[in-house]
Amino acid sequence: MQRAEVLEIMNHVLDKRGRTRLSNEDQTTREANFRSLDFSEVALRIEAKIGRELVFDAATMRRIETIKDVLDFFETVTKS
């Protein structure tokens, strides 16, 4: 999945919760108010869109700190 598509899904989830859209990839997830439940929802929406379950390495997921890391993570797992 393209990075822009992942970003759009993330923004859609934030819109739905009435929160500010993502504007800066270097923001930490905390600064962007992107919470654990949002992360899980983005994963669900991506899985629904690509029609398969995402398989990932737990260590990679644990390295996530910024919005850029989230985009990198989903970009990678949707390609693998």
């Binding site: 654990s36 439940l37 644990r62 996530i64």
Partner: protein, 271 residues
Amino acid sequence: MLEVHLTFDVSKCIFCCRTWGLLLNPLIDKAAQIGKNVSFGHAVRIYGNVQIGDNCKIGDFCVIGHPSVHPSSAPLKLGAGANIRSHSILYEGSDIASYLETGHHVVIREGAKIGENLRIGNFSDIEGDCKIGDFVRMHGYVHVGRGASIGDFVWLFSLVTLMNDPLPPSHLSAPVAVGDMVTVCVNAQIMPGTSIGRGAFVASGAVASGVIPSSVVISGDQGEVRGPVKFLMHMESRTRHPWYKHFADSYPERVRQRIEAIGKEIEAESL
């Protein structure tokens, strides 16, 4: 001017103190079967239809084997090693395995079948005819409605309510079923007849209803499925769910293999 004369009768005072002292003694029915090394606090009441295992501690003002309002001849069986803190009331007709640990002011009604090492916090209550698995953890002010079924290693945090009347008040009953290793966070409300699949995570304040699949996260007052539980991660500490991978050390070592086996089973089911 009004004069008030106060008199102090020493003999009456001594009588009162003695009476109060007697009231504080445990009142134990001779028919009760009590194991070895069981200790009783002040003013405990033990009814006759009771079997208490070894090494139990019964705190002040507890009532053990309270008569049921329903016809029941089954005794209250309280397994070994229980620690019942003050002001708790356990009704007759329940079967409770070893190492029950209650907070203060806990009520367990008749007909409950409870597994090993239930820990239940202050002011929580379990209504009748419930089935509760092993190593379940309930924090304070949890209400478990009549007939609920709860699996092993379930967590119910404070103020969680498991309801059972679909049209209150009525004689209808639609108990809740909670699968193994489910986590229900603070103040979540589980509507009557809800079935929560194994390993699911109910976020704080959620209102859950219907059939909730295994290993999903739900949140909000509509009980919306937010995603798979495996993506649930505390973003700051990067601690991930399911909890058994980072929190099994809070259980006795002898059950950790069992926790891991159930956790892996649930993960396999969700694939």
